[in-house]
């Protein structure tokens, strides 16, 4: 049956199992929207800004593990998606972004709402396509989804000129896809895996250093089995939180700039670091020259470019972390007597670690007069559903969430780790809530970031997405203020958000509910009220204004040079 290009695009999405897309109409996608009008199999959510729509697709992808889909029109619609695409790229989130483009005959003519979006997004997409013939739509979409979700996942942009949307063609979706120049290595080399297991069993002070790859690769179970079986302590990056139960005795919590003292000390004193789906980011390693000076390093990653990019690696294993960890479990099963010896030899190491844990646990000074943000996080954790999904924005509240909200399962924390995008939290929660209407979805924000996409309140109310918005309000851009306090002589240049916003009235204006706590004894009540509401809610907490995120490794310092109290 012949149909137009716009319809073919929708049929492709359906074939890929897409049930929800986030998009914003405009001149060069109007034909897609015309087809969508009568296409009931796909739910379309209209955000109030293309950036938010694309973040929502990202949040949807992170929470479900499926490919998130966003649509935007050409020109400004397309450029508005760029921050969200870069956010997804840095955190390896599978997404397909479809942008309208001016008709092919006009491309390059500086036409109305024309922009070279493929050129603009080249450095922050895994790949991109320009559709130039209606015959190619199905193959390109098949490739786009395949590339987005395989290997190291990432966003793929498909630029779709208006004349191709109107052109008529036959729809036939390919069953399989073959790209001769794209063959990601999925299976870890068995000999390398065997070597890795032997190295582990000879180590006395091993640490599993786990990143977002374990969440994205759905390998939490394998990781947890391996760590518990061998008794190896686990530290995770921000992106890895939830991949290993935060309340397990083997958990060291997060490492790095705002990581736990015990995690950073363990890295510094370790004789073997097993990096799994993590990439030795500068926020994790601190000063490279003094990073893990005594350790050999095993690095397991699906992306060969991550290996040896920042640190020397003694044993690289390229492969899907789930496959490699499963192989490691099997291999160590065969070495029972060795593993017993190994556990015994590790006893002093576990003693060191518990001493570090006891010496400087993640903590804060509680108060009866002002609300401590850490207290709010702990209360949220206590009162929320066990399977709640948490998104954060970027800044102090993000680090407090990472430190104090003990994440126990993967895909329950959605946060912009690599790019550090303020304005991410609210729309990402929106995407997760669209995917899981029945689950509790909470976004924890600061008063800075929440205002960067606050317009999405309208989307939440309109689509009955009952996201619980928590605002930790200190009337500061708190993280930058903290740096100014510590390193710039308290010169608070442009970090004070002087105009107080009435978030309760704001919630009301959008048709949502708002609750405010100004004193510690109101915290629990407000959280309970907020959680009890059926619709979207703002819960605002006026927190201690100059509370800092501690501990902290100053930029450029070694991991063990932590500021513990300041």
């Amino acid at each position: 049956m012949k149909m137009n290009g716009a319809r073919i695009m929708l049929e492709c999405l359906k074939k890929e199992g897409v049930d929800t897309v986030f998009g914003y109409p405009g001149g060069t996608v109007i034909n897609i929207y015309d087809e969508l009008f009568s296409f009931k199999e796909i739910r379309h959510i209209l955000p109030r800004h293309e950036q938010a729509g694309t973040h929502a697709a990202d949040g949807y992808a992170r929470a479900t593990g499926k490919v998130g889909v966003a649509i935007a029109t050409s020109g400004p619609g397309a450029t508005n998606t760029v921050t969200a695409i870069a956010t997804a790229y840095m955190d390896s989130i599978p997404m397909v972004i479809v942008t309208g483009q001016v008709p092919t005959a006009l491309i390059g003519n500086d036409a109305f709402q024309e922009v070279d979006i493929i050129g603009i997004t080249r450095p922050c997409t895994k790949h991109s396509f320009l559709i130039r013939d209606v015959k190619d739509i199905a193959t390109i979409m098949k490739k786009a989804f395949y590339i987005a979700r395989t290997g190291r996942p990432g966003p793929v942009l498909v630029d779709f000129p208006k004349d191709i949307q109107v052109a008529m063609g036959e729809f036939s979706y390919p069953d399989s896809v073959e790209i001769r120049s794209y063959k990601p290595t999925v299976e870890g080399h068995p000999r390398q895996v065997e070597k890795a297991c032997k190295m582990i069993l000879e180590a006395h002070k091993p640490v599993l250093y786990v990143g977002g790859g374990v969440v994205l690769g759905d390998a939490s179970e394998q990781l947890t089995v391996l760590a518990r079986k061998l008794g190896i302590p686990v530290t995770t990056t921000l992106m890895g939180l939830g991949s290993f139960p935060g309340d397990d005795p083997l958990s060291l919590g997060m490492l790095g700039m705002h990581g736990a003292y015990c995690a950073n000390m363990a890295m510094t004193h370790s004789d073997l670091i097993i990096a799994v789906g993590s990439r030795f980011d500068d926020r994790v390693t601190g000063k490279l020259a003094t990073f893990a000076p005594h350790a050999k390093i095993i690095h397991i990653d699906v992306d060969p470019t991550s290996i040896k990019k920042n640190v020397r690696v003694d044993l690289p294993i390229v492969g899907d972390v789930k496959d490699v960890l499963a192989q490691m479990i099997k291999f160590t099963d065969k070495m029972k007597d060795k593993t017993v010896e190994f556990a015994a030899a590790m006893e002093p190491w576990h003693e060191d670690i518990s001493a570090w844990k006891d010496k400087h646990p993640i903590s804060y000074k509680s108060s009866t007069t002002t609300i401590k943000p850490q207290f709010v996080i702990q209360k949220l954790r206590e009162l929320c559903d066990e399977n709640a999904i948490i998104s954060t924005d970027v800044g102090q509240h993000q680090m407090w969430t990472a430190q104090f909200f003990k994440f126990n399962s993967p895909r329950t924390l959605l946060t912009s780790g690599g790019l550090g995008t303020m304005g991410y939290g609210l729309p990402a929660a929106m995407g997760a809530q669209a995917a899981f209407p029945g689950r509790q979805v909470i976004t924890i924000c600061g008063d800075g970031g929440v205002q960067m996409n606050i317009q999405e309140m309208a989307t939440l109310v309109q689509n009955k997405l009952p996201v619980k918005i928590v605002i930790l309000n200190n009337n500061f851009l708190g993280m930058v203020r903290q740096w100014q306090e510590l390193f710039f002589d308290k010169r608070y240049s442009q970090t004070c958000m002087e105009l107080p916003i009435d978030y309760i009235k704001l919630a009301d204006a959008y048709g949502a509910k708002g609750f405010l706590a100004t004193k510690p004894d109101e915290v629990e009540k407000v959280i309970k009220q907020g959680f009890a509401e059926k619709g979207p809610v703002i819960m605002e907490f006026k927190i201690a204004r100059e509370e800092k995120v501690l501990p902290m490794v100053p930029a450029g310092a070694s991991l063990n040079e932590m500021v513990l109290n300041a």
Partner: protein, 163 residues
């Protein structure tokens, strides 16, 4: 250290800019780059001369391989390739220098491809060091214009790039 890399790429829309922006975005150097289709349909071959220590070269290699349109990356650093470059050189050639230019052209087995009463245009082919050498000799005589193609490199021996 200078390295010569061959990159086999799918002849897709925008592939040159993907490779070029990879180098600029990650702060890698390009000393020269040449690209043209190969005997296989849909495949083009780039020859890139770059520089960096082993760590940088490893990253260049891996990052190129990571591009979806890149089929194969070959690093010719260890002398395993034969390298050639062509230069078109316009030199001033008047009175007494005309004979000198011809002598240099002869020694380098280059060719005169255009001639006027005041100039010669020379085509010289060889490895880049040879091109540098002829340029050094011609420069004092009056070098008016120069075009170099950048290196192209092919592996030594009977095997093709697919092995």
């Amino acid at each position: 250290m200078q390295h010569t890399i061959s990159v086999m790429v799918e002849n897709e829309f925008g592939v040159l800019s993907r490779v070029a922006s990879l180098f600029s975005g990650r702060g890698f150097n390009i000393d020269s780059l040449s690209v043209a289709p190969t005997n296989e349909e849909g495949l083009s071959r780039m020859t890139i001369v770059t520089r960096g220590d082993d760590k940088v070269l490893e990253q260049i290699n891996k990052q190129l391989n990571k591009l979806i349109d890149v089929l194969k990356v070959i690093d010719f650093t260890d002398g395993s390739g034969i390298e050639r470059e062509m230069a078109l050189i316009k030199v001033t050639a008047e009175d007494e220098s005309r004979a000198e230019v011809l002598r240099i052209v002869d020694i380098f087995r280059a060719k005169i491809i255009d001639v006027t009463p005041k100039s010669y245009t020379i085509e010289a082919t060889g490895n880049p060091l040879k091109i540098d050498a002829i340029l050094d000799l011609l420069r004092p005589l009056g070098l008016k214009e120069l075009v170099r193609t950048g290196s192209v490199t092919i592996g030594r021996g009977a095997k093709g790039w697919k092995g």
